[in-house]
Symmetry: C2
Subunit: 307 residues, 2 copies
């Protein structure tokens, strides 16, 4: 079960009816958060998300609406008696910025490990998640993220039988382990089919459209993308402040063909993000203008488990 | 008109139904804020408070639940096109702490002037407000505040007539100006009665009970005081974490005799602060367990204006 909850959908400043954009992902008991603006801990509580299980926090960039909630979030994780180390991922300088904010959250019952992004694209392993970070084009250094759950190939029963392997050795091989039997070594690739399609969520906000976004959103189960402005006359503003319009987001989605597109990071001036949908759906039908707390559980195409 | 709005009433962490404790005061177009935890800008928006008019922000101390909302608040003030300088008052280190938080809010269209408190008690003038800061007893250096609007004495018409002053000179004298007339100098004290009782709000949170609190809350129009715990069995916890129980707050109020006591800074575990009122009112009848956004307009005893 790969659970997704978009905790907030706002940009720039939190509002009484809209928290700042932040994404919570959960797989096999491990949580990953992307961005943590002011009020994210309130949005998480509202959505019933457990702080304690969050092992990784990724930041797209250091504008306040994406990171200002961190000190409070860390303290609340501490109050929930977390002791396991936390990994924080972000652009170059993430350790310096987080430590500056920790002036007001100096004592925590867990340690923090930093992973600073420096390249145009980087692939990291964070618990059960494969995290791909890719550089986008905002006023400051900013990354988009694609978070995937890889899925192994199918166990080939015929191949295992042909090798004469006893049934009790099948499971370790299925789990990726190497086994020795009657003086011979068996590796998983000898009994496993090719890796199957896993699950992928792509997340991109605070950028002008750049080709890399569609590359990482390609065939995603869910693509969550900034649509800061809806009105056609806001195009110049989007260019000036290096944001994306909803129309630009659906154009990227039309190229990338995710299973679903969720728009987010709405301008505080946008009261009803849904009103632009009829026009947007002409470009990409599977577009949703979601609200805070939207949840979805992603499943494999065949409905099966990972094994 | 001295307007008071208690934006939030929570302690420790913001909750979906309770923002962190922060007090907004307004007099003659100038606003003053005490404390600014995560979400205070949302609470202010909810209460319909104008960010732009806030000229002074006072901090009791630097625990995150009292200051974590500052970067976002400053940026939102900037977005509201404030250009007038802002004064920030707080314990020693306030400039260092605020500048650390400004790592994520480096560019603002207004300047910030700092007033660091160092003494046990300090009196400051902030726009129309007389601000008295007094040191209390928390885990870190912490101050309570009493904010007053002074009120001049009554204009003595008989005295002015006896001096032979023409009516057109009465108003400047009333406003505190010195005037020259027919070769003689006239000062306000020659025509004004003794200063009258003004208006006073006392605010105190995050401390054990200390005598100075009642001194500054004495005869206040409104005393806003921490009542973190209500249950008698939380007394030890209050001592350990250096907070006050509701019973301790009403005991102080009984000594200080303010016109009204508002309890605030409720523990996140306290669901219904009102439930303790019947018992508390036995000690101080004019006790209210208020909720977020509680407003009041304070008026002079005689209902008149300042003049």
């Amino acid at each position: 079960m790969f659970d997704v909850c978009l905790l907030g959908t706002g940009g720039m400043m939190p509002l009484p009816y809209r928290y700042l954009t932040s994404l919570y992902l959960r797989y096999e008991g491990s949580g990953l958060l992307i961005d943590c603006g002011e009020g994210t801990q309130i949005a998480a509580k509202k959505a019933g998300v457990s702080y304690k299980g969050i092992d990784t926090i990724c930041f797209t960039h250091f504008h306040a609406d994406h990171i200002s909630g961190l000190p409070g979030f860390l303290l609340t994780m501490g109050n929930a008696e977390r002791t396991e180390p936390l990994t924080i991922v972000g652009p170059k300088g993430v350790e310096r910025v987080v430590n500056a904010l920790r002036t007001i959250a100096p004592e925590l019952p867990f340690s923090i490990e930093f992973k600073e992004l420096a390249e145009q694209t980087e692939a990291l392993r964070c618990g059960p998640f494969m995290v791909d970070a890719y550089r986008v084009n905002h006023k400051v250094t900013c990354y988009g993220y694609a978070v995937s759950i890889p899925r192994a190939g199918k166990f080939d029963v015929e191949a295992a039988r042909a090798l004469g392997l006893p049934v009790q050795l099948w499971n370790p091989l299925q789990k990726g382990q190497t086994v020795d039997y009657e003086g011979r070594t068996y590796t998983p690739d000898m009994v496993m089919g090719p890796a199957r399609r896993g699950l992928k969520v792509a997340y991109c906000t605070d950028t002008r459209p750049v080709p890399v976004i569609a590359d990482y959103a390609k065939d995603a189960d869910l693509f969550i993308c900034e649509g800061m402005y809806g009105e056609p006359d806001k195009q110049d503003k989007a260019k000036e402040y290096k944001h994306m319009t909803m129309q630009e987001a659906v154009t990227i989605a039309a190229q990338a063909q995710p299973k679903e597109l969720w728009l987010t990071h709405y301008s505080p001036s946008m009261m009803h993000p849904e009103e632009f949908l009829p026009e947007l759906k002409k470009t990409f039908e599977r577009t949703l203008a979601v609200r805070d707390g939207r949840k979805k559980t992603l499943k494999y195409d065949d409905g099966g488990e990972n094994g």
